[in-house]
C-alpha cells in the first residue's frame, strides 16, 4: 500500500486537519507520502517532512498553486498518481472541492468522509446526516478517499525527517481565476479543533445578542458556532455554521443555546463528548442528545452562566 496525502495549507503552515488526515492515512498503509502544492511554501514542505510516519514529501512550488485552485492542483496530482494505491485528503471544503475532480479523471468511485479505516479497502462512513453508518468496500484499483478529520487524532507535529523531493508543476488551467478571499480573523480557537464550542441558534433573535455567547466563549476559551437558521438570518457569518453541510465538530464540551436541534444540526455536533442544551422549549429535539439540559430563557440563563463561571477559581484551558 502506498498512500499519497494532499496537504492542506496556507503557503506558510499546514492546516491543523492535515495532521488528522495523516493519522487516518497511516492506518491505510505504511508507505505514506505527502504532496505539497503551493507558492513560496518551503516552510510547509518542511513541516510535512517532520511528521513521524511520513516517508517522503513531494514539493511542487509554483505561482499557479498560490490560491489552491482545484483545477490547477488536479493536473499535478494526476501526474504523480500512478505509483499510489490510495490518494487521500481531509473532507473539509478544500478536500471536498478537490478530490472528486481527481477521482473522476482516474475513473475511481470516491469514498467520501470516512470516519474509520477498517482495512485498506473497507471504511466506515456516515450517511443521511449521520443517522446511519455504512461500511463500504471500494473495488477500484486506485482509491480516492476523503477523511473526516475530527474522527481521527492529529499525528504528532515533530519527530520525523522525511526526504523532500522537488517536482515540476502540472499544466495550468486558464478558465478559473481566484478573485478574493474574505477570511474572518479571530483570536478564538478554530471551530473545528476547539476543546469547547458554544453555539447560538434562531433563539438568539439577532446578531447583537451573540455578545452574550461571545462573553462566555471568552471565559471558556471556546469557539463560537451557530445553526444554519442563525446564519441564514444573518446573525453570524457562514464560517460558524455547524451541521450536515457546515462544519462537523467534536469538542469535549458543546453548548447549544437557542438551538432546537434539527437533524441537520445534530449531524454536525452529536459526537461531542459532553453536550449542554439551553432552550426554553422543553420539547426541543436538542434535549434528546444533551447530557445536561436546561429549560430556561437564554436571556436570563446566559448572564447567570457567565456570573457562575466568574465565581469559579479555575477554568480549564
Amino acid at each position: 500500500m502506498s498512500v499519497l496525502l494532499i496537504a492542506e495549507h496556507n503557503n506558510k503552515e499546514l492546516r491543523p486537519f492535515t495532521y488528522n488526515a495523516v493519522s487516518a492515512a497511516s492506518k491505510i498503509g505504511d508507505d505514506l507520502h505527502i504532496l505539497v502544492l503551493g507558492n513560496k511554501s518551503e516552510a510547509v514542505a518542511k513541516s510535512a517532512s517532520e511528521i513521524p510516519n511520513v516517508k517522503k514529501v513531494i514539493h511542487i512550488d509554483n505561482e499557479i498553486y498560490e490560491n489552491f485552485i482545484a483545477e490547477n492542483y488536479t493536473s499535478a496530482i494526476i501526474k504523480h498518481a500512478d505509483t499510489y494505491s490510495h490518494i487521500v485528503c481531509s473532507a473539509n471544503t478544500f478536500g471536498k472541492n478537490l478530490m472528486p475532480r481527481i477521482a473522476a479523471l482516474l475513473d475511481t468511485s470516491q469514498v467520501s468522509d470516512i470516519i474509520k479505516v477498517i482495512s485498506a479497502d473497507t471504511f466506515l462512513r456516515p450517511i443521511y446526516a449521520g443517522n446511519a453508518f455504512a461500511t463500504v468496500k471500494s473495488n477500484d484499483k486506485k482509491k480516492c478517499i476523503t477523511i473526516r478529520p475530527t474522527s481521527f487524532e492529529p499525528a504528532p507535529v515533530k519527530g520525523g525527517s522525511a526526504e523532500i523531493v522537488k517536482s515540476e508543476a502540472g499544466e495550468a488551467f486558464n478558465n478559473s481565476k481566484f478573485v478574493k478571499r474574505e477570511e474572518i480573523k479571530s483570536d478564538r480557537p478554530e471551530l473545528g479543533t476547539a476543546r469547547v464550542v458554544i453555539s447560538g441558534g434562531r433563539g438568539m433573535q439577532n446578531s447583537e445578542n451573540f455578545k452574550l455567547i461571545s462573553a462566555i466563549a471568552d471565559k471558556l476559551n471556546a469557539a463560537i458556532g451557530a445553526s444554519r437558521a442563525a446564519v441564514d438570518a444573518g446573525y453570524i457569518t457562514n464560517d460558524h455554521q455547524v451541521g450536515q453541510t457546515g462544519k462537523v465538530v467534536v469538542p469535549d464540551l458543546y453548548i447549544a443555546v437557542g438551538i432546537s436541534g434539527a437533524i441537520q444540526h445534530l449531524a454536525g455536533m452529536k459526537e461531542s463528548k459532553i453536550i449542554v442544551a439551553i432552550n426554553k422549549d422543553g420539547e426541543a429535539p436538542i434535549f434528546s442528545v444533551a447530557d445536561y439540559g436546561l429549560e430556561a430563557d437564554l436571556f436570563e440563563a446566559l448572564p447567570q452562566f457567565l456570573e457562575e463561571l466568574n465565581k469559579l477559581n479555575t477554568i480549564q484551558k
Partner: protein, 249 residues
C-alpha cells in the same frame, strides 16, 4: 444561454431516517420523498437568471427510477422549460451519474450546469466536481452568490475559512449552497402547466454508461446511541455538574 440543472430525488429532509433491521440500507417504503434541498436552490438560480434575460432555456434533468420524474416536474413547475429523465434502477454512484450527465451535456450543449453541492442521502459531495473534470470545465462549488457576466461567472463560495470569490469562464459547472437563494413554491396553475411541458425519457443503458456499483455496501447500521442525559434545575446546578461530574470546565 442554456442552463442544465440536475436534480435528485431523496428522502425528505424532515424525515427521521431509520435503518433496516437486516442492515441492507435505510427504510424507504412509505417514506416521504422530495427534491434534494440544494438542488431546489440550483433550479431557483437558473430561473432567476432566465428571468433577468441572461438565459433562454432551462433544461431540468434527473437520473433514477420511474418516480424520480417528480423532481423534474417540480422544476418544470417553477420555471424550467423542459425535462429529461434518465431511467436507471438501484443505486447510481456519483461517478456514474457524472458520466451520464457528460453524455447529456455532449448532446444538449448547455453553457452552464447547476446542481446542489451535496445530496442529503449519501452525503457524497462529488457529482459536480466529477462532471467538471470529465468535461474539463471550471468548477465553482458551494456557491452562495452568482454574478453572471458576459462570458464568465463571478461566484462567491462558502469555504471553511469564510468566503472565497472566483471567476470561471463559461461553460462552467456550479454546485449550489442552501444560502444561494430562497427557492420559490410552485403555484397550482404552474403545476398544471408543468404537466404539459415536454419530458424526455432515456434509458441509461442506451447512453452506453456502465452504472454498475464500484463500491460495495457491506452493511448499514444505526450509529451508537448517546446515553440519556438529565435536565438540570438551574444554571448553578449546570455549572457544578460541568465542573465536578463531567469535568469539562
Amino acid at each position: 444561454m442554456k442552463i442544465l440543472v440536475a436534480v435528485k430525488r431523496v428522502i425528505d429532509y424532515n424525515v427521521q431516517v431509520r435503518v433496516k433491521e437486516d442492515g441492507t440500507g435505510v427504510v424507504t417504503d412509505n417514506v416521504k420523498m422530495s427534491t434534494n434541498p440544494p438542488d431546489d436552490n440550483a433550479v431557483e438560480e437558473a430561473v432567476k437568471i432566465k428571468e433577468s434575460g441572461k438565459a433562454k432555456e432551462i433544461v431540468a434533468i434527473t437520473i433514477g427510477e420511474e418516480k424520480a420524474q417528480e423532481t423534474v416536474r417540480k422544476a418544470l413547475a417553477v420555471g424550467a422549460d423542459r425535462g429529461i429523465h434518465v431511467k436507471v434502477d438501484g443505486v447510481v454512484e456519483p461517478l456514474a451519474v457524472s458520466k451520464i450527465l457528460q453524455k447529456i451535456v455532449d448532446k444538449e450543449k448547455p453553457d452552464l450546469v447547476f446542481m446542489g453541492k451535496q445530496a442529503i442521502d449519501d452525503d457524497c459531495n462529488q457529482t459536480g466536481q466529477m462532471l467538471a473534470a470529465l468535461l474539463n470545465w471550471p468548477q465553482a462549488t458551494f456557491a452562495s452568490k452568482i454574478n453572471v457576466k458576459e462570458s464568465s461567472l463571478e461566484v462567491t463560495r462558502e469555504v471553511d475559512e469564510g468566503l472565497e470569490t472566483i471567476e470561471v469562464n463559461i461553460p462552467a459547472i456550479v454546485t449550489c449552497d442552501l444560502r444561494l437563494n430562497e427557492p420559490r413554491y410552485a403555484s397550482l396553475p404552474n403545476i398544471m402547466k408543468a404537466k404539459k411541458k415536454p419530458l424526455e425519457q432515456i434509458n441509461a443503458s442506451d447512453l452506453g454508461v456502465d452504472t454498475k456499483a464500484r463500491i460495495e455496501q457491506i452493511k448499514v447500521e444505526e450509529p451508537p446511541k448517546r446515553k440519556a442525559g438529565i435536565k438540570v434545575a438551574n444554571v448553578s446546578e449546570l455549572v457544578q455538574k460541568l465542573k465536578n461530574e463531567a469535568k469539562v470546565i
